[in-house]
Amino acid sequence: MLADLLIHPRLVRVEVGLNVVVGFKVVPDETLIKVSSGKLDMNVAVKISTYDKNAIEEAVRIKESTGGKAIGVTVGNTDRKTIREALSMGVDEVVAISTQYTDVLGTATAIAEEVRSMNPDLVLFGETTTDGSTSGLGPMVAEFWGVPVITFAKSIKLDGKVIRAERSLTPVVEIVETELPTVVTVTGEINSPRIPTLRQIMESSKKPVRTKEFKSSPMASLDSVEPYLVQRKRIVLEGKTEEVVQKLIEALRKEGAL
């Protein structure tokens, strides 16, 4: 046995729990935003941005398999109910940084400050948010922190301090490798986010939420947000399939589309 260990030094490698930081954003549910009298009604329910849930799920899985910690960071809207959802999914604690309007560069600055003080092994984000959709946060945090970044990962595998990821760079898929610490952004295909049990939801109220404030002077200011609409005819064709198909073909020929 001892001989084995001497011959194969990698057998003596001690697996230490990995500390993962996961960024997530509280956003208005885009499927509920409606246009009323030429304006967008943004006063809708908030949620964890879609792919950030995949990042949380991945962070919790890594925490569970290595016996480490998963810490959430959110910037902007710090809605408590939404933060509790992240905690219910298995995040150990959340740093909630409230701020007035800021751009993605400001958000990255705030998160990088936290990341530097926590010095984790891995930082995860969703590939993009459903509000700003810049896909810029992960790369920016990596740049500020001075570590490599792997974006659009649809699977990741950890082996000691080496991370291997499958990057979805349509139409190319790349398998890449680098050493921790690193920043990774994940796509929606990487996993199916868990639905917390009632017990996990109850227990999440005991988990710590540290609140902070961040003042930023954004380089990009948001001047206006208007509905993005293209007026359509909205003609409904209903009835027997043979008849509606006939009508459609006639209409498309008249329009010069066929």
């Binding site: 295909e189 380089m219 359509r232 399939t241």
Partner: protein, 282 residues
């Protein structure tokens, strides 16, 4: 100094055309020798290397392409230069010492106008305008970054959805992977390219990932867009809103796509395809 970069030749051209319209000295970073900038760095596009090249030029404006890799590089450059960042811009105006840009927000629901201080980093998609050829000083620059590529699988890349005139696009409502063949038959009958929504491409694999139309896939603007069994989530709409005529086929009259199409055919998607093919061939 303006810096233009893209891993994609066509996207490099549209970025260069925008840069030329601003009348400043232009540096480019590309994989191929393209003659649309005053000087050009030719590189195999390791992300660390491209971020270094672009940042060292101390640009007032960086115009990147819109591929996923381009956007990753652009965001890092913005962080390194502490510059304003706006990817996937659809309109840019120079206003004194600022830029005013428009881009899509809230997953396709909104059009946002932003003012960017200089320096600024933006990305643009492929467009119709082509740049003028010019005398270009070519510099080769290679190097290795911190992320190693172990394996590379090229996608099929057989269809260019961005320039297709007619697109037949399938969603979950098509029912099964098996049923996609009926949509293919219809596409063949009308000379269309076959595409799909995010769930059927990236998640369920009914079609290859490069066929994805939407915010995270390709943005298309065909003369005719036929949406089969696509409910019309904002993310999908964001990728096809600029289409000429939109026809949706759906069993559910109240699906969001109903608000965003010219013709809504309330029918079973498979029956619809079979009937269309029969009529068009007969």
């Amino acid at each position: 100094m303006i810096v233009v970069f893209s891993e994609d030749g066509e996207n490099f051209k549209s970025a260069a055309a925008l840069a030329q319209s601003l009348g400043e000295e232009i540096a480019g970073v590309a994989k191929q020798e393209l003659k649309f900038t005053n000087k050009l760095y030719v590189t195999d596009f390791d992300e660390d290397v491209v971020v270094d090249i672009v940042s060292k030029e101390s640009p007032t404006l960086v115009i990147g392409g819109d591929t996923k890799r381009d956007k990753t590089v652009a965001a890092r450059v913005a962080a390194r230069l502490r510059a304003a960042y706006a990817p996937s811009v659809v309109d840019l105006k120079s206003q004194g010492d600022r830029f005013v840009v428009k881009r899509i927000g809230y997953s396709g629901v909104a059009l946002a106008t932003l003012t960017l201080s200089k320096p600024a980093v933006i990305t643009v998609g492929k467009g119709d305008s082509s740049p003028k050829e010019m005398q270009t000083q070519v510099i080769r620059q290679e190097g290795k970054g911190r992320v190693r590529v172990v394996e590379r699988r090229e996608g099929k890349g057989t269809v260019d959805l961005g320039s297709a005139k007619i697109i037949v696009s399938v969603g979950r409502g098509m029912g099964s992977k098996e049923n996609v063949k009926y949509a293919q038959e219809l596409a063949d009958a009308i000379g269309a390219a076959l595409a799909g929504s995010r769930p059927v491409t990236a998640e369920m694999g009914w079609l290859p990932e490069d066929r994805q139309v939407g915010l995270s896939g390709t943005k298309v603007k065909p003369k005719l867009y036929l949406a089969l069994g696509i409910s019309g989530q904002p993310q999908h709409l964001a990728g096809m809103k600029d289409s000429g005529l939109v026809v949706a086929v759906n069993k559910d009259k109240n699906a969001p796509i109903a608000e965003n199409c010219d013709y809504l055919v309330v029918a079973d998607t498979v029956e619809f395809c079979q009937e269309m093919v029969k009529r068009l061939k007969g």
